[in-house]
Symmetry: C2
Subunit: 180 residues, 2 copies
DNA sequence: ACCATCATGTAACTTGTTACATGATTAC
DNA sequence: GTAATCATGTAACAAGTTACATGATGGT
């Protein structure tokens, strides 16, 4: 009850085949939603069966045909309805949090090494996002609504990476204070 | 491949029955991990079958017996091994992000109302967490390692709520600029 | 010849969600 | 007597993960 809607958003922006959607999910929308091609194909098939999307088979030169999906009138209504429903409180799951909490029951030094790695990963991702912001949204004032929404979601990605980095840093500092 | 470990952490802090675990997950650990009692009972049964925990049936007055779970030597080793393994990059899912991104395809005014509600919810939760910090950790210097870990996870909860509030606020401000 | 890419899928499995069931005790 | 709490579960289903399959084209 959610991947469907994420796919409808993506297909509203631009119709796409399963594989194209998969790739688009690895970027932009993928800051906050991840899905494998297997999942996407399965859900697309269901959406087609339910009449939420129409499919056009597009022949290509030197490549297999692709099935391009476009939201139908029904699909557009489903999406609009969903957008207007109240949001459930998000329930985040973080393995990292569980590990921080359980540090006493294992090798704390190993955990600290892994934390440094995790922080480096997030720093890298943050740098990528910030570069995307500079390149794609050099001047965020006066953007068209749809483009502004994309910018604001990217802003969320940036904020989320900063959250991770700051939190891990706080943990590492508290740890260093003890061992120094 | 994760709830098991979260349960092992909780049971290492203090042995518990299924229902007690469920309640503990609604608090503290629950900032970053949520599980229903059905899930917990199922996983506990598997952990018992695999010899990760031992179970003691405790009779109670005027109440049904309860089955108290304690990590076994095997369970403690499993937990220690897991704590030392590198963290996979966390993949967060946010329905809110999808809705922000898709705002153009629905009623933007309704979305804005829902966003205000969502922000109020997060503000409430932030207030709860901050009160917990004041009451349980009035002086965070010189805490014992295990207690400090609990404090730092609470800090993460606080930081996460602030992330939500700040992001939603940024979105609402960008929206107001346009409509004013 | 061999590997990577494009494009679509199937199958088996693990997790997570929702709804229901039982049976005792305490509070109003 | 009615509802809430304590405590443990079952069953059906939805969602997500992992591994494998197919068959063509293009590059080295």
């Amino acid at each position: 009850m959610a991947l469907e809607h994420a796919l409808l958003v993506a297909l509203s922006e631009r119709p796409a085949s399963g594989l194209e959607l998969t790739r688009r999910f690895e970027k932009s929308l993928g800051f906050f939603w991840h899905a494998t091609h297997q999942q996407i194909y399965r859900v697309l098939a269901r959406m087609e069966a339910d009449g939420w999307v129409t499919v056009e088979v597009v022949e290509q030169e030197g490549r297999p045909d692709k099935r391009v999906h476009t939201p139908s009138a029904t699909g557009r209504r489903v999406l609009a309805d969903w957008l207007a429903t109240p949001m459930p409180m998000e329930t985040f799951r973080s393995e990292l949090a569980v590990k921080l909490r359980g540090a006493s029951y294992g090798d704390r030094a190993a955990l600290v090494r892994n934390l440094r790695d995790a922080r480096a990963d997030h720093a890298l991702r943050l740098a990528t996002y910030e570069q995307m912001e500079r390149e794609q949204f050099p001047d965020p004032t006066g953007l068209e609504p749809g483009v502004r929404d994309r910018w604001l979601v990217l802003r969320g990605g940036i904020r989320l990476e900063r959250f991770w980095i700051d939190w891990i840093t706080e943990y590492l500092q508290a740890h260093e204070m003890e061992t120094s």
